[in-house]
């Protein structure tokens, strides 16, 4: 199944939407713009009717897999169900049609929603102040690390140029540290999957600005030495940064602020049920301890005498990371989710996220290699059995075969420290039935791998397209349609 490009459906003279005629006196173009500023030819956009366009994009949607289509155990991405009521809320005219520069008197509902979201996120994470401005997790990381940089500089600590990240970290962590002008120092994991304390001690010193950590780690394991780690980092004069990708595991059970973290970013599109949109938009709010609050991006939403205001008076702020106030539409969805669940409901989210992951690990532990056989949190990491390697079966082959059975595969080849990693995160919104079906199919795929390895190596068979030539795509890039 393939679909023509929209350009290939184009026929000169068609138009999908009509505009009203000009109702003001028309001035000749040359009187309004110098000739050399005017485009000689309109850009060759497609010319299609409304039905052509609608069918084209509906057909494309049918070639796409989302949480609403089937099980999506993509580790580290928290592909939980996205409640429809939140979509409806964000689409309400009183939210969707607000201009960012309209007077705050007209926006009290929106500002209250933002303010309460800031407060709730602070309560959930144990931080003192929040900004909703960052548009995504990586954007939040950048914001948080720049706050750390500005804070240290304000204390005259200009020699702190290094940022420590564990070898199990998300790729965004080292990339962020570089973007913020730090040098990255990698620290290895110990045999239990946590930070190796001895290795950490060796790299800590007066040149260290921060340690970036995910807890539970990307291995799905709780870093139980977190207090010691926090003490070591703080004693060395550094700060502790929390990558909130895995917060779904611990809500109501533990808070980064109580563990000693100074700065956190959250992913509203993971933990708080907002959809991922095929790659975005998300939202990556950042929370800090009181001492770092003056450095938050401006403006922040404050409450004064019963009204809500945008406070721009932050002279030590790092500035801005985005125009306006963040991905407000996404924040509306997260707020809706918070009010649906409340404190107790959020704790149940984590309870069942962790139960589901442990149950699925239990169902699969005799069939996959589990490199860290401990109780996991919201996800677990596994490797294919040893004998499959001898048959030339890779994790990629298993993932591709799962597509034929109607599942989105788990995250593969991450974290980098686990051989042929398969990272499974079921989330709390999946029932036992779904987990059992998935476990049965995965076991069946492993059997197929033994009985008939070629079946896996050539999979998938039933998808709209089959395995792609990614090498040619990168070597001879074709990145757009060109007019003839």
């Amino acid at each position: 199944m393939t679909e023509k490009l929209i350009f290939e459906l184009s026929l000169p003279g068609r138009q999908g939407v009509a505009f009203p005629a000009n109702d003001v006196p028309t001035t000749a173009l040359p009187e309004l713009l110098p000739q050399e500023f005017i485009r000689e030819q309109a850009p060759p956009l497609p010319e299609v009717g409304e039905l052509d366009a609608v069918r084209h994009f509906v057909r494309l949607s049918r070639m796409n897999f989302g949480v609403d289509v089937g099980f999506y155990p993509l580790g580290s991405c928290t592909m939980k169900y996205n409640p429809k009521v939140a979509e409806d809320a964000a689409a309400l005219s009183g939210f969707a049609n607000l201009h960012p520069y309209q007077p705050v008197e007209l926006s009290q509902g929106a500002l209250r929603l933002m303010y309460e979201t800031q407060q709730d996120l602070a309560e959930i994470t144990g931080m003192d102040a929040f900004t909703l401005q960052p548009a995504a997790g990586a954007h939040g990381e950048m914001t948080g690390m720049l706050i750390i940089k500005a804070y240290l500089e304000s204390k005259g600590e200009i020699g702190r140029t290094k940022v420590i990240v564990p070898d199990s970290a998300h790729g965004t962590n080292p990339a962020t540290a570089t973007l913020c002008g730090f040098q990255v120092v990698e620290v290895k994991s110990d045999e239990r999957g946590g930070v190796d304390l001895e290795a950490l001690k060796k790299v800590l010193g007066p040149d260290v600005a921060a340690l970036m950590l995910t807890n539970p780690s990307t291995l799905g394991l709780f870093e139980d030495q977190i207090k010691e780690i926090a003490d070591l980092v703080h004693r060395a004069g550094g700060l502790l940064y929390y990558d909130g990708a895995n917060l779904n595991a611990i809500m109501g059970y533990a808070r980064p602020g109580d563990m000693g973290f100074d700065v956190v970013h959250l992913n509203l599109h993971k933990t708080f049920g907002t959809p991922h949109g095929g790659g975005g938009p998300g939202a990556g709010p950042v929370g800090v301890k009181a001492e770092l609050a003056p450095f938050l991006p401006k403006p922040v939403v404050i409450k004064q005498e019963g009204s809500y205001l945008l406070d721009y008076n932050l002279p030590r702020s790092i500035g801005r990371v985005k125009a306006f106030y963040g991905n407000f539409g996404v924040v509306v969805k997260a707020y809706t989710y918070l009010r649906a669940l409340g404190g107790q409901g959020l704790k149940q989210v984590s309870e069942f996220a962790v139960l589901n992951a442990n149950y699925l690990m239990g169902r699969l532990s005799n069939h996959l290699r589990i490199p860290y056989p401990r109780v996991c949190m919201h996800e677990f990491v596994a490797s294919p059995p040893k004998d499959l390697k001898e048959r030339g079966i890779k994790t990629l082959d298993i993932a591709k075969r799962l597509l034929d059975y109607g599942y989105h595969p788990p995250t593969v080849y991450f974290p980098l420290i686990v051989e042929e990693a398969i990272m499974i995160e079921p989330t709390e919104t999946e029932s036992k039935e779904i987990l059992d079906q998935f476990a049965d199919i995965l076991i069946k795929v492993l059997e197929e791998a033994r009985d008939n390895p070629e079946t896996l190596k050539n999979a998938p068979y039933t998808t709209p397209v089959r395995r792609l030539d990614e090498v040619t795509a990168a070597r001879k890039p074709v990145l757009g349609w060109l007019p003839e």
């Binding site: 006196p25 201009h99 520069y101 570089t178 991922h276 125009a323 792609l468 990145l479």
Partner: protein, 446 residues
């Protein structure tokens, strides 16, 4: 339990398999001294019916552009969104998907991004576009970083006619690298080439300008490009995509990198986000581009297909050596832009642009003839213009609001030297009657 399907029986069976009595056992991994020993104080537990009512009442407190007549722009625009856009965007195969890591089951998102990249290239006359950035401001900041990497220089010149918040974002992004920023002043509402040229030197990586600029004036890109290139710097342009239906493209004027805010293309105002930033460049800078890029290829059966490509630039492969830390794009907003541009098409985009141009010219002319209002500058404008007022802008806006009009931006807020100046925006949605009403009310005030 909200959105959690387990029955008590299922939960017991699951605990049995794990050989434990209670889920608390699973959380013993968390040391006692960091456990939270109280309930989270977060309001909630509302049923869907209560929740819908609560959200409607919060939304109801706000008054937006559909209940007023909006003459406010300044980076967020009240353009018409064809109905089909929201219907396509509500397809949950699109919106509940993650980044298309598994191309075999993600052709919908991948092909739509490929079409989006194509359209951005056609609008800007650039060779390659990425899958989108967070917004126009962050796209401009990434363009500055890209130019520094491409030229191995560490200084940029930003026109003061670039959106003030965009300039702040550029400053924040460059802070980490210690890149020096100079701001080129404006005269007559435009960046004059001699003023920019005076700041450009052989250490300058790029000149950053907006097109049309923050005041609505159309900058002379060709001359600015010449000045930048004369010292080996790049020209990075932040363009309004609607204007590109009518104005000469930045590519034709000599720009090297073109970015912009794509909100105008089918995305609601939504109090400032989510929007999308587009970023496009000439081929020689392709491998310095940040963000996701989709390319065309074939599958094992020879069928045409699309895939994320050139990933060797990105954080999940290169880690600390990546071109940027960006991980996501604004795929759903980019889809809105793609559907919008498909519906309006070649002729429609030009129509929208001409409607904006004509109505803005009409409003500008009308307002400039009112006593107490004058045009400070004569530079050509597209869909926004600046007017100098005798009465203070905040008083004007308060008065306009009484007549349900959302007035222009008070420029004194961002440019102290422009106290008593307002920035008005007139899109294709404003009728002659609404513009006349604005003029009437302003006239009554002076």
């Amino acid at each position: 339990m909200r959105f959690i399907p387990h029955t008590e029986e299922e939960r017991r069976q699951m605990l049995d398999l794990l050989g434990i009595e209670h889920t608390d056992r699973l959380f013993e991994e968390i040391p006692r001294d960091v456990r939270l020993n109280r309930e989270l104080q977060v309001e909630g537990g509302l049923s869907e019916m209560e929740l819908s009512r609560h959200m409607a009442s919060l939304a109801g407190i706000n008054t937006g552009v559909d209940e007023t007549v909006c003459f406010l722009g300044a980076g967020a625009y009240d353009h018409y969104i064809p109905s089909a856009v929201k219907h396509i965007l509500s397809r949950s195969e699109f919106y509940t998907a993650y980044t298309p890591y598994q191309p075999e089951i993600s052709q919908g998102v991948l092909q739509s991004i490929f079409e989006y990249q194509s359209m951005i290239c056609l609008l800007t006359d650039m060779d390659a576009a990425n899958a989108s950035m967070y917004d126009g401001a962050s796209a401009l900041a990434e363009a500055a970083l890209m130019a520094c990497a491409a030229t191995r220089r560490d200084r940029v010149v930003v026109a003061k006619t670039v959106h003030p918040e965009y300039r702040e974002v550029v400053r924040t992004y460059l802070y980490g690298h210690g890149i020096e920023i100079s701001e080129a002043p404006f005269r007559e509402g435009q960046t004059k080439v001699e003023d920019a040229a005076g700041l450009l030197d052989n250490k300058t990586a790029a000149l950053l300008v907006q097109y049309p600029n923050f005041f609505g004036s159309v900058e002379d890109l060709a001359k600015l490009a010449e000045a930048a290139h004369a010292v080996g710097a790049l020209l990075a342009v932040c363009a309004d995509p609607i204007a590109l239906g009518l104005l000469k493209s930045p590519g034709q004027c000599g720009a090297d990198i073109v970015v912009g805010e794509g909100q105008s293309l089918g995305n609601p105002l939504s109090y400032g986000g989510p929007y999308l930033g587009f970023l496009a460049c000439r081929e020689k800078f392709l491998r310095k581009m940040p963000g996701r890029i989709v390319g065309q290829t074939v599958d094992v059966d020879g069928r045409r297909a699309y895939v994320l490509t050139l990933q060797a630039r990105e954080q999940h492969i290169r880690r600390d050596k990546a071109t940027s830390n960006i991980c996501s794009n604004q795929a759903l907003c980019a889809l809105a832009a793609t559907v919008y541009l498909s519906l309006v098409g070649r002729q429609g985009l030009r129509q929208v642009a001409e409607l904006c141009l004509q109505k803005t010219a009409y409003a500008r002319n009308l307002l400039s003839q009112l006593p107490g209002y004058q045009l400070p500058w004569q530079a050509p404008v597209f869909k926004e213009f600046v007017i100098k007022t005798k009465v203070a802008p905040d008083i004007i806006n308060r008065e306009l609001l009484k007549h349900n009009i959302l007035g222009g931006l008070d420029l004194g807020r961002y440019y102290p030297e422009l106290a008593g100046h307002m920035l008005f925006c007139v899109t294709e949605k404003r009728s002659r009657q609404e513009i006349d009403l604005l003029a009437d009310r302003l006239g009554a005030l002076s």
